[in-house]
Each structure stands twice: as structure tokens, then as C-alpha cells.
Symmetry: C2
Subunit: 460 residues, 2 copies
């Protein structure tokens, strides 16, 4: 019997995790695996780019979890710098373009994995392509930005966007000695938080010496006589800049899949079932930043570009492709980040997410510390908890604070997954010792307050 | 109508939390509250004593959450230095001894809360009462130890016991510049861990310069010509000591309650229902270190002396005493600690706990890091996971490592509470960003390995 042929499109986390897991389950005599990657790197941590730029991490090699050679050692026919330019679903083949040779060819598949990732949102504005304007989506992007920074003598950096990438890049540029201005379209930085919690991030960024301009709608990139970037214009002001970093977010890269007739959802990502199989296609799987995932709290799909999900998807896909079994049940929307020593964690629904799916809710916000108040290094943290009206079911948690703030949302992430009420959470047996927590962990304090608010609201 | 009368025995976490919560629900015209405390302090953090001794914390005031005066301001009739010496259950009265005046009197109650705490295990050995031998159970103990340290010129400290108090006191004495020897009766330090994980703690303590002697059974305390402690003798050796710290653990202080005919369990603690009402007694509640609590994983009661539980008990008792409603459903056995930069976390059952209740289990142990491997400060941690044979239900987690190790058990604590399987845990949406976690959080890596072990064992 001829070996089954698996084609993988995309050589980063989801694609190569799938390929590797499939290979663990099926040897080369049972399955041949061809993987296409259009860039220079495989299996790398894009999330590490801000820390590479900021000088915390040696790059780019340190950010590569597995090199092309290592994948080839596992009998994966990895074709670097080769872009898939067409999918023929009915004919079970893909068209590949070798970017080095310019050659185009078709390759057949029995099974296929689509892991084409996401692309940065790059608004079509005048000057956007000027030297000195950089995205930070890939290792290639990071390399290009670092080359610019080496050549640039000016010290003014403008970061466009105040989400995860934006605030992390603000920290990175600050660490490199730049004067940093963040231009944020929204009313508060970190739109993944409610505005009241975003305000805390804004204040902390102020304290770190990062200027954040809210409500700033970028209209054009200004250039100097040399054609290089010289500033950023918004609706109502101009910000001089020696370098501009774009951190506006990403959208699923699904042009290829859509052209092939594969189904996408309301957020532009491919739609799959819980085994990560593309809906309606028995032999095609998709995972990573190009898919939509089920939000277990909201009960609908979302697009979340995050390496940890991509790795899980790859693992699940590889198991299923290789004849095993795995599912990705969905997400609760956990994310953590930091700006210097400010930590930010969130999971579940924001107020507006709850309202958007028709959930009535109450909120409770408390201040506590990450260690016993008397223990050295105890620093404040603010915990906001959102619970369903009447039932008291946990809907979301947001935490902004210093050491120990971000990862505390993990407790809430598990509670959300388990469908716990805030009242049940007050009895959680969380680790206590003075260096690690007050006697009531901040999450428990928030749960206690939420219980009181739920009761008061329910009896009103 | 005359006000109802509540008597509280014990002025620390459980007792005073109960009194305070009852007072919130019932004003002085509805309920009079009399609380007895035999010592000098109320509502203090005994867990903070090692850090006070180690010089991290200013004591003792910083360790007091609420002073007697503050309690009195809330209309609680607090009688300090007054010991309850008898309970007359049928007569609904207690006998109190004022230690200052020597006066004894009886006081009636409609409702009573017993929060008598725990007492340190103090083996009856020759020399145990010699000057220079100290327990560290109360603020008074801490004060006495510090006075000894001020007077002592020698630099050799022997700590008896290698549980939480023992290892924390080893750190404290090391920080004060002592040469520290820990005498441990067991085969490994930290008997709340399995021996394979305890070995990691032992190695780390070695690395910190703390000498740990396992299998050391103390036979006597040696004294010098001045009557002060001069060393500790075990079965097979003698350890010179200028100061000896006892950290052998505690047992429930229930003599008074037992004498009154109240029910105690197999571990010597008072037995209550889930509202913390003493079994068989409609108007008596008990909480804190003097009760047994339900272990939700093992399905039987245990004795765990921990401030966080005591506070929860007090909250629940106060609600019920005050006419509200609250329950303490039980514990999963979470505990965290540290020795210098070594962090230790555990929750759920050890191997021997599982075996003791007849559960068949498998184990999986992995090594990972607390941050992305490439991120500065990424330090190793070892995670051991115990899962039920066949079902894969999580039974316990132990973590030993550096920064971020201890509180990671909280995720497992919630998963245990929710009855999750290790397979369900592999899909948990835990926070990921390079400064906070590898792309697979160590708990997820352990869960993945545990799934493989469960499958292999189940098909064998």
C-alpha cells in the first residue's frame, strides 16, 4: 500500500506541531509529510519578538523552538521559502511557488493541514511603506526593525496601537532608550480590558514615562527629505518619529482557503469542528491563527491569535491526522502581558462581551496585594470580577497590578471552564503563605465581593 | 427582648473573623458578643513569624491584622489574657480565668464559637525546657526567640523538623547569619510531598548551605554549665547548638472541648458539619486549627492548621451565627512555601494518601520552566501529577522549583475542586506570554504526560 500523503501549509506553531505529532503516530512508510513555509524560519515564537527587540532575548535563534533541519531529521519533507498559492480541494492538490527558484508546481495530498496564521492589520495610509515603519509579526519583521534601530540616531519612537503588541513594544523601545509615544485609537489602552481597568494600565504607563494618546486616529505617516519616516499624523496632531512600530493587531490569513471555497466565520477565520477539521471537509484540518475558536463563555466563535492555542491545535490535529483522537474544546479568552513591572491578566468576558450575547451581569472590583500586606515587596493589584446576574456564574476576571497579578487569572480560567459560581469560588483552596498571597487571595476577595453584589442585585 | 449572647473562645483568625462577621449581621442591640483570648494578641498572622524572625518583616505589630482596641470599637467585649477553663454545654456557660487578676467566673451563652487553635507538638524529652529552645507558634513565641537571638553570640542553630515551619525557620536563621542544621525524622524534608519531590527540596537546601539530616530521631536536648541549650542529641549523633527551634508541627487544641463532651475525629480535631456547626450541637460552632476538615479528594476528614482556612471558617461561622448562611465545603489540601528562592507547592493527594483510601493511581513527572525557555530568569521547575487509574481524574499535584512554581498549584486546586480529568486539563486556557510561561504551561505539560501514562496503564 502506498503511503498516505499529508500536506501542511505553514511552518510555524500549529503546522509543525501537527506535522510532528502526526509523524510520532505514523512512520514514513505509512505517511509522507510535506510542509510548506514561505518564510525563513519554522516553529518560532513570534510572541518573543518584543523581548528580542527590547534586548532581553538573544534572537532570532533563541526564538526558534525547532529548526528546519530538526524537522527534516523527523522525516518531514519541509520546503522553506515556498508559498502555497492555490488549493484544489476537489483535486486534492496544492500549487506551490518556490520563492528562490521562481518555480511553480502542484503537489497532491490525501490529508491537508492549513496553518497559514495571521497577518498584521496594516491600514492603507500614505507613507505606510516608508523606511522606518515596521510591523513585528514575524522573526523577519523583528530582524528588519533591529537593523533600522542600529542605523537610527534619533530617539523618538511612535508605537501605533495599544493592545498586547503595542504595550509590549512600548516597553521594548523604552528599554532601548527611546522616548516612546503610543497612539491608541480607543478610549483606553488594552481594549481587551474594560475601560476602568484599561485606565489603570494607562496610569501605570504614564508612571513609566510612556506617553499614551487615546482617541488617536492615524491619518498618515510623514516622511522627510530622505524618504524615511519623520512622524505620524493623526486627526488632530502630529508626532515626530524616528521609528514607527505598528502593533495594531492581526487578522486571520485565509485568502487562500477562502479562494478554495473553505468556510470562514464572522471574524474571518476558518471554521472547524472540535477535532479541528474544517467544516464539511473530511480530509482537511486547520489550526492556529487562521481559525476561529469557540468561546466557551460567550457560546460563539472568536478569532484569537496566540501561540499557546496554535500549539494545542497542532497537537490535536496531528493526533487526528495520525489516526488518534483529540479535541480542542475551545477557549475562555485568557491572556497575560506586562509593561515593565506592570502585569495584566484577563480571562472570560468583558462587560461589553457579556452584553453582546445578551447576558445580564454584575461587577465587583477590589484592591489587594500579591503577598501578605506586611511581607516585603507586597504591591497592589486590582481585580475585577464579572458574574452573571442572579445565577452568580463567573463570566470574567481582569487583573492589573505588579508581581503575581497576571498569572492569577489562571485560577479564574479554570473556574470559567468548570462553570463555577462566584459563591463556589469563595471556598477555593488556593495556596497561602505570606510571600505568595494575603490570607485571602485577591481572587477570593473579589469573589466574596461579587457574591455580595449578586445577592444585592438579585433581591432588588 | 433581651439580646442574644455569643461567646467566642479564642481571639485569632477563626474566632475573631466569626465575631466580626456576626457583628456585621447583628447589631449590639440584637446580639452581645464576648470573646476570650488567653494571649496578648488578636487576629494575628502566625504564618508571618518566620519572616519576622528572619528580618523580612517588622514585628509584632505588622503581623496583627486587627488589635483588641479595633475589635472593641466594633462592640465586641474582648477579654484579653483570659482563658476559658471549662465549658458547660448543658448549662450554656463557660468558666473563664482572668490571668492578670487570677479571678475565675462563669459566663452564659446562647451561641458559642470554639476557636482554640492548635498547639505545637513538643516531645517530652530531657532538656526541652532549657533556655534557648523555642517554638514559633505564636507572636509571643516569636518575641521570645528574638530576645534569645539578641543575647546569643554563638552562630549555630538547629531546627528540629523539616515541614513548612521547619524549612521556613531554616531560611530565617540562615538569613540571620546562622549556620543551620535541620534535623528531620523522615527520609526526606517536606513530608507533605512524595519522597521523590522531597529529595529536590533537600538538594536545594544543600545548595543554599542548609545541612539537612534525614532519619534523625531527637533523643534529648543538651545543656551547658549555664543551663542553656548547647546541642541536640539524636539516636546516633550530637549536633552542637546555640539556639534550637522546634518546628515539628501542631495538633488541634481540643482538651477543653473534649472535656465538655464535644465530638472529635480520628485526627484529634473537632468534628463539624458543612456550616461549621459542631456535630450534634445546634448552638455551638467550631473553626480554625482546632477542627478537622473534609478532604474533598480523599473523602475523609483531615487536620490542617492554616490561616487561610481559619479565616474562611470564621467567615462562614459568623454568617451562620448572625442568621445568614454559609458553608465550608472542604479542602483539597493546597499549601505553598519557600526556602529562600526555592518554591514549593502541593495540592491534593500524595501517592500514599491515594493508596490509603484505596485509590489506584498513576504518576507523571516533568521538568519545565516558569517562563519561556529563552526569556531571562527562566528557571527550572519539576511538576508531579497524580491521576486516578483508568478514569484519569486528577488526584494531586506537587511542584518544586523557582519563581512561579508554588502558586501554579492553584490551577490544580481548582481542577481538583471541579473533579477534572488530566485529559480535560490539557485543554485549559492558561495565560501565556514569554515572561510568564512557556507556550505550554508546566501544568499542561504534566497533564499531557499524565494522559499518556493513564492511557498506557489502562490498556495494560
Amino acid at each position: 500500500m502506498a503511503a498516505e500523503r499529508l500536506v501542511v501549509i505553514g511552518g510555524d506553531a500549529a503546522g509543525m506541531s501537527a506535522a510532528s505529532q502526526a509523524r510520532r503516530l505514523k512512520g514514513p512508510d505509512e505517511m509522507s509529510i510535506v510542509a510548506f513555509e514561505r518564510g525563513h524560519f519554522t516553529s518560532y515564537s513570534a510572541c518573543g519578538v518584543p523581548y528580542w527587540v527590547g534586548g532581553d532575548v538573544e534572537g532570532p535563534d533563541a526564538l526558534v523552538a525547532r529548526t528546519p533541519e530538526e524537522h527534516r531529521d523527523h522525516a518531514i519533507d519541509l520546503r522553506m521559502r515556498t508559498e502555497v498559492t492555490g488549493i484544489d480541494v476537489a483535486g486534492q492538490r496544492v500549487r506551490a511557488l518556490d520563492r528562490e527558484s521562481g518555480e511553480t508546481y502542484w503537489t497532491g495530498f490525501d490529508k491537508m493541514v492549513i496553518a497559514t496564521g495571521a497577518r498584521p492589520v496594516r491600514p492603507e495610509l500614505p507613507g505606510m511603506d516608508a523606511p522606518g515603519v515596521h510591523g513585528v509579526q514575524t522573526l523577519d519583521d523583528g530582524q528588519a526593525l533591529l537593523e533600522t534601530l542600529e542605523r537610527t540616531t534619533g530617539r523618538r519612537a511612535v508605537v501605533v496601537g495599544a493592545g498586547y503588541i503595542g504595550v509590549e513594544m512600548a516597553e521594548a523601545m523604552l528599554k532601548r532608550g527611546y522616548e516612546v509615544t503610543v497612539l491608541n485609537r480607543g478610549a483606553r489602552p488594552m481594549a481587551t480590558l474594560d475601560p476602568d481597568m484599561g485606565r489603570l494600565v494607562h496610569e501605570a504607563m504614564d508612571g513609566l514615562g510612556i506617553t499614551t494618546v487615546n482617541g488617536a486616529s492615524v491619518t498618515r505617516i510623514l516622511t522627510g527629505d530622505d524618504g524615511r519616516v519623520s512622524g505620524v499624523a493623526t486627526d488632530d496632531a502630529t508626532y515626530p518619529a524616528d521609528v514607527v512600530v505598528l502593533g495594531i493587531g492581526v487578522e486571520p490569513e485565509t485568502g487562500l482557503a477562502r479562494a478554495a471555497g473553505l468556510p470562514t466565520g464572522p471574524n474571518g477565520g476558518l471554521l472547524t469542528d472540535l477535532t479541528m477539521r474544517v467544516r464539511g471537509h473530511h480530509n482537511i484540518w486547520a489550526g492556529g491563527d487562521c481559525v476561529e475558536v469557540l468561546d466557551l463563555v460567550a457560546g460563539r466563535t472568536r478569532h484569537i491569535a496566540l501561540g499557546t492555542h496554535a500549539n494545542k491545535h497542532g497537537q490535536v490535529i496531528g493526533s487526528n491526522v495520525g489516526g488518534g483522537y483529540g479535541t480542542f474544546p475551545g477557549v475562555v479568552g485568557t491572556a497575560v502581558s506586562k509593561v515593565c513591572d506592570l502585569e495584566i491578566g484577563r480571562t472570560g468576558l468583558r462587560e461589553k462581551d457579556a452584553a453582546a450575547v445578551g447576558l445580564r451581569y454584575v461587577t465587583a472590583t477590589i484592591e489587594s496585594t500579591g503577598r501578605a500586606g506586611y511581607y516585603p515587596g507586597a504591591r497592589p493589584m486590582t481585580v475585577k470580577m464579572i458574574a452573571e446576574y442572579r445565577t452568580g456564574r463567573l463570566l470574567g476576571v481582569q487583573i492589573v497590578g505588579r508581581e503575581g497579578a497576571a498569572k492569577r487569572v489562571d485560577v479564574a480560567a479554570v473556574a470559567l471552564t468548570a462553570g463555577m459560581t462566584v459563591e463556589a469560588m469563595t471556598a477555593l483552596d488556593l495556596g497561602y503563605a505570606p510571600p505568595f498571597s494575603p490570607v485571602w487571595d485577591p481572587v477570593l476577595v473579589a469573589a466574596r465581593k461579587a457574591v455580595a453584589v449578586v445577592r444585592a442585585a438579585g433581591s432588588a
